[in-house]
């Protein structure tokens, strides 16, 4: 029972980080209908930037988030302008798979050259600290990461639902032609949307670097997990990404702690398969456009 409850705590806290990563992924899909296979590589790039700021200037990874998100927002906009915008709208969904995979490989190469392939980790003074609550350990880094992710997701929600830009995004998602007729520049929305997706990857990357050792090749495992989360939650749904992340993290942690780590990944994929059999669009995916 102790292992079960400890696994549950670990799973819930870790889910926040994955929700943040997956929210960027699903936002980009919602706006552009682009399945961004480079999201994992963007997270790792965010982790490296945070690592560099910590080792070179002593900036705490949590405090570095405003810096890395701005930098990565710029990187995301450049990617959209240079690699995705030239794609014809009608071919974009299919071709974007190849293009974003190529971007992931390009980023991996740049990171390998810049930081080598050695495994890095961000070891702050509080990296291994934890609080004992009723005999269970609540890791400080995971708790802060969870709270940070909640805050970031809340800001994203407010951005999409309470701002002029958010209305433009939702209008573009629901009906791009009508939005354009009403003066919404869909290309600008796409660039900013991709930038925001990359910025969420930066925030998640800072936390990821605190939790796990990483190198330039870490994005392969990450992207398969992120795709599973957004598929489970429903492509284009931020709420779905949060629920998907919870299901992935909690099921993995609980099964690893109580049954076997071999079965933990398998269990999640069984859940994913069953959900997709019943609801092919995922838990919160809709047939109509506009499900951000």
């Amino acid at each position: 029972m102790h292992a079960l409850i400890q696994g549950l705590i670990l799973g819930v806290l870790t889910a926040g980080v994955y929700a943040l990563m997956a929210s960027g992924q699903t936002l980009i899909f919602g706006i552009m209908k682009v399945v961004n296979l480079a999201q994992g590589a963007l997270v790792i790039l965010g982790a490296y930037l945070s690592y560099q700021l910590f080792t070179s200037f002593g900036i705490d990874p949590f405090l570095a988030i405003p810096i890395t998100t701005v930098m990565m927002f710029g990187v995301g906009m450049v990617i959209e302008l240079v690699f995705l915008r030239p794609l014809r709208r009608e071919d974009r969904s299919e071709l974007s798979l190849l293009v974003t995979f190529a971007i992931a490989l390009l980023l991996e190469g740049i990171m390998s050259v810049s930081w080598s392939t050695s495994v890095r980790s961000i070891n702050t003074s509080y990296a291994n600290s934890s609080w004992t609550v009723f005999g269970y350990q609540v890791t400080l880094v995971r708790l802060w990461a969870f709270l940070l992710s909640l805050a970031a997701l809340g800001m994203l929600f407010l951005l999409l639902n309470r701002t002029r830009f958010g209305r433009a995004v939702r209008a573009s998602v629901q009906n791009p032609e009508s939005a354009r007729l009403l003066g919404v520049e869909s290309s600008r929305v796409s660039a900013i949307g991709f930038g925001i997706g990359a910025a969420t990857a930066a925030a998640a990357g800072s936390v990821y670097g605190l939790l796990y050792p990483f190198n330039s090749g870490s994005h392969y495992d990450l992207i398969s997990r992120l795709l599973s989360i957004v598929l489970l939650g429903g492509l284009g749904s931020i709420g779905g990404a949060v629920v998907g992340a919870l299901v992935v993290s909690v099921s993995s942690a609980v099964v690893a702690a109580t049954v076997s780590p071999i079965w933990s990944e398998m269990t999640f994929f069984v859940i994913l398969l069953l959900v997709l059999l019943v609801r092919p669009r995922g838990l919160f995916g809709t047939t109509a456009r506009g499900a951000i």
Binding site: Q6, S118, N128, A256, P261, I262
Partner: protein, 419 residues
């Protein structure tokens, strides 16, 4: 006309066949010449060219570069003494990009195109298996500083020598021996095993488990985790719930760091802890888990700073002179690659010859001094010695068992985290 054409065709076929036979004979002669060339100091002063395919890019590039440093350092050292049998040593290194396909092409080229005198091995079992087969085809001795997985020895190649004290899967046996050497009252009563699912890590832990269970040490947890497992906290939480006396990690690197970090976060300190890999990296381990969390953790190693084995002091001093840093920062792989060169040097000194056949026959008899200790091999190239048990004490990784090489007394009870 028809008769003329037929004669011309026959002549063409004969000419082509003669050319092919000639070409084949030439190739065979070349290959055979390079594979078994016998060069004595009296007959040649041409450089001794040694070819090696090393992973300078790709997944194994860090270890590949460490091996490259070892080969080059040995060549520089031996050349400073006038070379081997008065022949200067040239090391020709080509990059295999960590690819088992490229490594085959590289050794084919080194042997058939560059006609190197000797070949040294690449990094990893994955690359050593195909590379050693190429070398065997051309009767080259194949001395490999890495790649000691079981499948390498299953090939039963007589030209192959794994230049470490024991096959990789036996690296943890020394820990079991140490535990069983303790008085019964001091031995751990329960053990937990968390093993990475790869050809090296899990078998090392399993070998330990077999020995400890036979001695009555109860297994309270045993699980294998996939290599893609990012988060080991749930696995360690399950171990913590069992309160074992000793935790044995069949680990590589990242998972070793993750195990320690998780245990610190879960505030569980076992009486003893052994990790097959990761904890034996003097440079990486403290920076990844926090230097104050290393105390008491055990691992195994073949070379260690301050070793009194043959040539170790000279190796350490030339390494630090050339690359800077301290002895603690030297990668094991560099020492293992250097030992490969030492063996060739020792054979030449003992026999006065430096050809492949002599190297193969010589290394199959007796034991040979290197900075990894005295090495000897069985017929399939598996070394017959033992690794050393090392333990983190006072921020340093020190050899603690067996007593013949120990620089400190082993701590049988691990200090608490942060201690």
């Amino acid at each position: 006309m028809t008769h003329h054409n037929r004669l011309r065709n026959v002549a063409r076929v004969l000419a082509t066949a003669t050319a092919l036979v000639g070409l084949a004979a030439g190739c065979a002669s070349n290959a055979s010449k390079s594979g078994s060339s016998s060069s004595s100091p009296a007959t040649t002063s041409a450089p001794l060219v040694i070819g090696a395919s090393v992973s300078l890019t790709g997944d194994f590039s860090d270890s590949g570069k460490a091996i490259q440093r070892g080969y080059q350092l040995w060549a520089d050292t031996v050349n400073a003494k006038g070379g081997i049998l008065r022949r200067k040593v040239q090391v020709k290194i080509v990059d295999d990009a960590s690819s088992p396909t490229q490594v085959v092409t590289n050794y084919q080229n080194l042997i058939n195109k560059d006609h190197v005198d000797l070949t040294f091995g690449p990094f990893s079992t994955l690359l050593t298996i195909p590379a050693s087969q190429v070398a065997a085809r051309y009767h080259y001795a194949f001395l490999a500083p890495a790649g000691g997985g079981p499948k390498v020895f299953e090939q039963n190649l007589t030209n192959f020598f794994f230049v470490q004290p024991a096959p990789t899967t036996q690296a943890g046996d020394v820990f079991a021996q140490y535990v069983l050497s303790l008085p019964a009252a001091d031995r751990p009563k329960t053990a937990a095993y968390a093993e990475l699912d790869d050809p090296f890590s899990a078998p090392i832990a399993e070998n330990i488990r077999t020995k400890l269970e036979a001695a009555g040490i109860k297994t309270v947890y045993k699980q294998v985790y996939p290599s893609e497992t990012q988060d080991l906290s749930p696995v360690m939480a399950a171990i913590v719930a069992k309160h074992p006396d000793v935790i044995i990690g069949g680990t590589q690197s990242e998972d070793a760091y993750a195990q320690v970090k998780s245990l610190v976060q879960l505030k569980f300190n076992p009486k003893m802890m052994f990790q097959s890999n990761g904890a034996n990296s003097p440079l990486e381990f403290p920076s990844k888990v926090g230097a104050n969390n290393t105390a008491g953790i055990m691992s195994s190693a073949d070379w260690f700073p301050g070793s009194t084995a043959a040539g170790s002091a000279a190796f350490t001093s030339v390494y630090t002179a050339k690359y800077g840093g301290t002895a603690q920062q030297i990668d094991d792989s560099t020492a293992e690659a250097y030992a490969v060169g030492q063996l060739v040097e020792a054979v030449a000194a003992k026999t006065g010859k430096i050809d492949n056949a002599t190297i193969i026959s010589s290394l199959h008899s007796g034991s040979w001094p290197t900075l990894l200790g005295d090495l000897a091999w069985s017929s399939n190239g598996a070394p017959t010695g033992e690794f050393n048990l090392v333990q983190w004490q006072g921020g340093k990784l020190l050899p603690v068992y067996p007593s013949t090489i120990a620089q400190a007394t082993p701590l049988s009870v691990k200090p608490n985290w942060g201690g």
